[in-house]
Amino acid sequence: MTLATATKRSAKKRAPGPGRTDHGAWFLVLPALIPILILSVGPLLYGIALAFTDSQSGRTEPTQWVGVLNFQDLLHDTLFWDSFRIGLLWAFGVTVPQFFLALGLALLLNQPLRMRWLARALAIIPWAMPEVVVGIMWRLVYHPDAGVLNETLSNFGLGEGKDWLTGTATALFAVIVVGVWAGMPQTTVALLAGLQNTPRELHEAAAMDGAGAWRRFRTVTWPAIKPIALAITALNFIWNFNSFALVYVLTQGGPGGRTRLPMLFAYEEAFRYGQFGYAAAMGCVMVAVISVILAFYLVGRLKGGDEA
């Protein structure tokens, strides 16, 4: 297969068909390329431009360029930085446990255990569910009176009538648990795929040499799944930082802004208060942060590549 592709490539290079091949390729690409440019790349650039304007909804006078004014305002907007801090807390708080729990589950599912199929089937459920339903479901679990959590806790003499989602001390923790639950399956599936591509012989050879479980994990398993682990963790962090629906349904950002993620804040700013320019500037700041994270990930991956 690799050989065939290689031959094909060199054959292509030797015969630079004038135009015809390329026209064909363009014809195949255009149906997707045009909508992408109009509805994705275009709006993205437009969005960045909006961040430098005073665009508002329902205003009659024309929109004007205001330079970096929105960014200056953002700098002094403590509510925004609160939401930013909450966004980072949430993204870390979800991504890290999610990774370790998913790794544990993937390692278990890679063992010849009996209830494996059931765990695999269950692991799919949160993935396939609409986020709104996940949010509603956990509201039912967390419900102060009719919820299963308080009922279970009260059986142990704890947490009678506690309102997890509206308590200022518990709200962020409560939504993080839901975030972990909702995103674990994808991470598990990704890691499991990596594990299953790890050659069995390496494990057996290591076991023959008398390596213990931890040593085998460190020397055989981890190097094999490291690229996937890095990629999925970086992506999870970004997705979590950008998430909206789950927390919106669970708490609407409350109580008192304790769970107001940056996306919720920007959404309110844009579609409740009509501050398009200001909200776009928030989006730009979020993009900047995400770019830094991506850069870290890419550097990490390149280093990993050197070691290998």
Binding site: G24, A25, I36, A119, A121, I125, V141, A190, I232, M263
Partner: protein, 277 residues
């Protein structure tokens, strides 16, 4: 030998803990959906409804236009997923087989688009669609869904194209078939199962989508299922928990069925593909 046994026991215990963690919210949802109002109001809720009832389902349909919302979701998800795979498949073919500038840029876009905070594109999209009078219209939403589902559709399809042996295309080229012809009559048929899986996946993501629908759809007659479900919460009281659970449970069934069908196919292609951004 004994250590082996204790290890196994520990593994089963851990697996059991995972099963409980993964299953209990969903089981609770189902249990709540079938509980009569009387039991929902009780201070000590039980796992299994003593007096299971379908009343909540009936009430859910009375309270909100669920059928209409499901219809809207179906139209949006079906159109968006079909259009997405029809336009993504040829592009994925080029991306998988040619290392030219377009395919490199497309690959870069697929990766970068995973990192968009959607608020940055929804504001301009909102303004554009408003000028086109496509706010509160399923057509506008479908357009957004098509582009939104393209990255992972491309990602999955590129994987499927790579799995098709290139020799077949070479044979077609030797016979004098053009690029487009080769694609249509040789590659596309072999890709069919992958295309179906991709379309189903695009369908689920559109069926489940909330943010764009929340922003773009204004009136209940046009809103999709997730937005309507969210409206239930606004009027939440203890008495409404049952219908809320019933409606939420119903909304999940299509996704679960489709997911069960395609589960085997997506695991490979989905590694880094977008899921719920």
């Amino acid at each position: 030998m004994r250590t082996k046994k204790t290890t196994r026991a520990a593994q089963y215990a851990a697996l059991a803990a995972y099963l409980v963690f993964l299953a209990f919210p969903f089981l609770w949802l189902i249990s709540t959906a079938f509980k009569p109002a009387r039991e929902l109001g009780s201070l000590h809720p039980t796992w299994i409804p003593k007096d299971p009832t379908l009343e909540n389902f009936r009430q859910a349909f009375d309270e909100q236009p669920l059928l209409q919302a499901a219809g809207n979701s179906l139209i949006a998800a079906l159109s968006a997923s079909l259009i997405a795979v029809v336009i993504a498949t040829p592009m994925a073919y080029v991306m998988a087989r040619h290392r030219n500038r377009v395919s490199k840029a497309a690959t870069g876009w697929v990766v970068i688009s995973q990192a968009f905070p959607f608020v940055l594109i929804i504001i301009p999209l909102f303004l554009i669609l408003k000028n086109l009078h496509l706010i509160n219209s399923l057509l506008g939403l479908i357009m957004v869904y098509v582009v939104w589902s393209l990255p992972f559709a491309l990602w999955m399809l590129v994987g499927y194209v790579r799995a098709v042996p290139a020799e077949l295309e070479e044979a077609a080229a030797v016979d004098g078939a053009s690029k487009v012809r080769t694609f249509v009559s040789v590659v596309a048929p072999l890709l069919a199962p992958g295309i179906v899986a991709t379309a189903m996946f695009a369908f689920i993501t559109a069926w489940n989508e909330f943010f764009f629908a929340l922003v773009l759809l204004k009136t209940p007659e046009k809103q999709t299922l997730p937005v309507i479900l969210n409206r239930f919460i606004g009027t939440e009281g203890v008495a409404d928990l049952g219908p809320l659970a019933a409606a939420a449970f119903l909304a999940t069934i299509p996704s679960l069925v489709i997911f069960a069908i395609i589960q085997k196919r997506i695991t490979g292609g989905m590694l880094a593909g977008a899921v719920k951004a």
